[in-house]
C-alpha cells in the first residue's frame, strides 16, 4: 500500500467518512472508493465501482474477478453506534460491553448529575433532552437505540425519534406491564402496530438476567442477534 493511500484512508476514517479500499490481488494496485468519488491507481469498470459503493451501505466486503486479476474490496465504515438513553445502573456495563463488541457508544441523560458520573469517562456523554440528542445524532441503519430510564418523559421521545429513523435495533427497559403502557402511549402518539413491533421490550434476550451486568449481556446479545442473525 502506498503511503499516500494509507494517509488518505486514515484521514477518511478519522473523519468518520465511509470508504472502501479495492486491491488488485495480483498487481497490488489500489483504489479508494468514497460515496462520491474515487482515488488511486487501480482502474475498475464503472459497475464495479458502483458495487463497491453499495458495499459501503451493506457493510460487507466484496471480492470479484476482473481480466486483470482478482479484486478485493474492504469496507472501512465508522463503527456502528449504540445510543443509550439513561445513565442508570445498567448503563455502565452496557456501555462497556457495547464498546467491546465494537460499537461507538453515546450515553444520553439530561438529569443533572446522572451522566456526569466518572463511570462514563471515555464514553461520549450528552446532557441534552433525548429528542434533541436524537435530532443531533440522527440514528441510521447502523445504529442501535436502547432506553433505560423507565421515565416516559425521557424514554418516549427517544423511542419516537428512533421509530422515525432506520435504527436497526430499538430496545426499551421495563417490565411487560410498563412496556404495554408505553406501547399504549406511543400508539396514541400515532405509531402503528407494525411500527411498534420494532421495539424490543422487555429489552434483551430472555436468559433470566438479574444483575446489571447480566442484563447488559442479554441486551448486547440481542443487538448482536438482530445485526448478525439470519432472521
Amino acid at each position: 500500500m502506498k503511503s499516500a493511500t494509507l494517509d488518505k484512508l486514515q484521514e477518511a476514517r478519522a473523519a468518520k467518512r465511509p470508504v472502501a479500499l479495492a486491491t488488485n490481488l495480483r498487481s497490488g494496485q489500489q483504489l479508494l472508493i468514497y460515496a462520491d468519488g474515487t482515488e488511486g491507481d487501480l482502474c475498475l469498470d464503472m459497475d464495479m465501482v458502483v458495487a463497491a459503493g453499495e458495499a459501503l451501505k451493506t457493510d460487507e466486503h466484496l471480492r470479484f474477478a476482473t481480466p486483470a486479476g482478482e479484486v478485493f474490496v474492504q469496507v472501512f465504515n465508522p463503527p456502528p453506534r449504540l445510543l443509550v438513553v439513561g445513565a442508570v445502573h445498567i448503563t455502565e456495563p452496557l456501555a462497556r460491553m457495547g464498546a467491546l463488541a465494537g460499537y461507538g457508544v453515546t450515553v444520553i441523560d439530561p438529569r443533572r448529575g446522572f451522566a456526569e458520573s466518572q463511570k462514563f469517562e471515555g464514553f461520549a456523554v450528552m446532557g441534552d433532552w433525548p429528542d434533541e440528542a436524537m435530532a443531533t445524532l440522527k440514528p441510521d441503519s447502523r445504529t442501535a437505540v436502547v432506553t433505560l430510564t423507565h421515565d416516559p418523559k425521557l424514554d418516549d421521545p427517544a423511542l419516537a425519534a428512533a421509530l422515525r429513523s432506520k435504527a436497526f435495533y430499538i430496545g426499551a427497559l421495563g417490565s411487560r406491564k410498563t412496556h404495554a403502557a408505553r406501547l399504549g402511549r406511543l400508539k396514541e402518539a400515532g405509531f402503528s402496530e407494525p411500527e411498534l413491533q420494532r421495539i424490543h421490550g422487555p429489552v434483551g434476550l430472555d436468559i433470566g438476567a438479574l444483575s446489571p451486568a447480566e442484563i447488559a449481556v442479554s441486551i448486547v446479545a440481542q443487538i448482536t442477534q438482530v445485526r448478525r442473525g439470519d432472521s
Partner: protein, 106 residues
Amino acid sequence: MTSETDVLSEAAAWRKSGKGVALATVVTTWGSSPRPVGSQLAVDDKGKFVGSVSGGCIEGAVIKEALEAIADGKSRLLDFGVSNEQAWEVGLACGGKVQVYVEKLG
C-alpha cells in the same frame, strides 16, 4: 469510544515512526474459519505484531511471510487450509480455509 483494536491505526503509527511494516488481511474464507473476511494483522520489521487473521493457528506463518514482504517489497497472496501442506504444518485445526493478502506499507 470502542475497544476493538484498531490494527490499521497501529500500523500507520509504526510506519510514521520509521519502521518497516506489512499488513495482512483475510480476503477469503471457506468453511469454518476463526476470523472473518477483513480481519487484519500488522507486523513490524522486528516481528512485533498486532491484530489477528486466524485466532492463532497460522499467525506464525503469516508473520514470516510479512517479514519477507517488508524485505523485498512484494505483495503476496497466501492460502491456508486442510488441503495445503503448509497449513498442515502450521495447523489450521478448525478445518477451514483462509486466503490472506500480505502487503508492505509504503
